[in-house]
Amino acid sequence: MKIGVMVLEGPYQHQAADSAYHFVRAALARGHEIVGIFLFADGVNNANQFISPPGERNIATRFEELGRQGIEVVACTACAKFRGMRPNIKVEHVQLSGLGALAGYLQNADRFVTFGD
């Protein structure tokens, strides 16, 4: 099955980013295809390469890892502007793009799952 994912919350304050990551890992393990992960609203903050939680899971590294595997991970450009998430701040394998990317995931996915508050 082709699955699209959207994350509406940032790191650590809410469970959403963690749940999205574990969901994607589980879906991939079962042979599903992830058509894309869209980081929207505060979700863009999950792509901050300077996230450095002492002794804790690194949420940015998780999305970077998924991107490095070839899964398209996109952070909303406008949301990034609102939050000062410049291109040189994000992790390498998360791309900045617009709602067109989200529209594409919606059209290409058999199921679309949103993680938010």
Binding site: L8, F40, L102, A103, L106, R111, G116
Partner: protein, 120 residues
């Protein structure tokens, strides 16, 4: 099920969190790609359509008046949950635009027949 139809489910108040504003922005952004969609307002989400919003003291822009402009990008299906309106002492006359007022069962049917539901 209409595989490609997207329902934007608006459940958050227009101020206090960014959800309603981002739901509006996402609706407009997706609509321009000619993706068939509708919007359902329920719970505190019905306040997003209330007339006379004045968030000046919050240094924010009123959200409600944006929704009628979605017609310009082809959005024509606006549903409002009747019980959510009634619980808040609102009637359709209190809203910034004409909408289809729907029951809980009708909301369930809309969600069931949508290919995708995006909650905001």
């Amino acid at each position: 099920m209409s595989a490609n139809k997207v329902t934007f489910l608006m459940r958050h108040a227009p101020y206090g969190s960014v959800y309603a504003a981002e739901g509006f922005r996402a609706t407009m952004g997706i609509a321009v790609f000619e993706c068939p969609l509708c919007i359902v307002f329920m719970d505190d989400g019905v306040y997003a359509l209330a007339k006379r919003q004045n968030p000046t003291a919050l240094e924010m822009k009123p959200l409600g008046e944006g929704f009628p402009t979605l017609g310009e990008v082809g959005v024509s299906e606006f549903y409002v949950h009747d019980a959510s309106l009634a619980e808040r002492g609102l009637t359709p006359d209190d809203l910034v635009m004409g909408v289809q007022v729907v029951s809980s069962a009708q909301v369930a049917d809309i969600l069931h027949t949508s290919g995708t539901v995006l909650p905001f």
